[in-house]
Symmetry: C2
Subunit: 192 residues, 2 copies
């Protein structure tokens, strides 16, 4: 069993879901396409960690609603208690930052400005999500036993990180502005 499998089991503990729904919900903490989700669900079902029932719909395609089994729940709980593997971060932007000295200042600034604007959007969106959760569930959300507790913690963490990213970007832009000798021009303006 891989991490994605456990992510699916975790979501099914909150409520029974279709593969389609799981794929959407997944985006919060583990990106995966439906082409990865559907076969994995079939495998989980084969090994009896989940079961499903067909639900016929009118006007919409039929769907399979998956539920977690006791066996699945036990597996998940056992896994949670084990020390997790080191995180993996793959961010093209960081590669570009590493080589930022090879470009001209305008290109560099543009890169950071764009980063800021995408993260500002994320921040507004995230704040809304958090507000909605707090309004919907009230104080219970900070309660360890609430089924929304984990998701709430993750949202709070993400918000912090996204805000930090913006602060860091502004700091970099400040650095770029302070040393304002030459090279306001293009790549050609730089010595080899």
């Amino acid at each position: 069993m891989n991490a994605l499998g456990y992510a699916l089991l975790g979501m099914l503990m909150r409520k029974p879901c279709s593969g389609y729904e799981l794929t959407q919900l997944l985006e919060v903490f583990w990106r995966a396409k439906h082409s990865q989700v559907y076969p994995l669900l079939a495998k989980l079902e084969q090994e009896q960690y989940v079961t499903f029932e067909h639900v016929e719909q009118t006007g919409k395609p039929d769907k399979k609603i998956y539920s977690i089994t006791d066996k699945g729940k036990k597996l998940l709980q056992k896994w949670i208690a084990q020390t997790p593997a080191a995180p993996v971060i793959r961010d093209e932007f960081l590669i570009k930052v590493y080589s930022i000295w090879l470009t001209d200042k305008n290109t560099a600034k543009k890169l950071f400005w764009e980063r800021i604007s995408t993260f500002e959007e994320k921040v507004t969106h995230r704040k809304e999500e958090i507000k909605k959760m707090e309004e919907e569930y009230g104080e219970t959300i900070t309660n360890f036993t609430s089924r929304h507790f984990g998701r709430y913690l993750l949202f709070k963490r993400k918000l912090r990180q996204e805000e930090e990213e913006i602060i860091w970007c502004r700091w970099v832009l400040d650095l770029l502005d302070k040393a304002n000798e030459d090279s306001e021009t293009s790549i050609e303006g730089k010595r080899e």
Copy 2:
């Protein structure tokens, strides 16, 4: 060409390196094993983005020192100016946090304490790296045209993030301690 290829080119702009060395240096911003690096270097060489020369050593195995070509440099510079793809984060720990409500408090606390301690180690290590860089290169490091500028920015960013992670973990541990009704025991102590 994929992101890893550009990461390699970026490192070769700073100085010529062997595949072995590149693999070590890579860890800072893009994890990859040597089994991925060597074949990719061969491919980059085939397409003339890099060249290499054999260096014979006594007492150590021979090595290939790779250098970037003009063609490679141009490719890299063109790539940097393009808007980067969205970052991908895969962190098992986050999946476990999502499902934290399924465990007992002790398991939960242990998970967060372990997270704190690994991140505290990272922070001390990172601070040393930054200090070393600042001592070695002085003010020039905050200069846009310095070949160490990008790496410096990345280190600063990582330090922030690692410190933030610790603060967040402590906040969660506080939440866990505040609501101190029941369930100081084991999984059995929880209702289904």
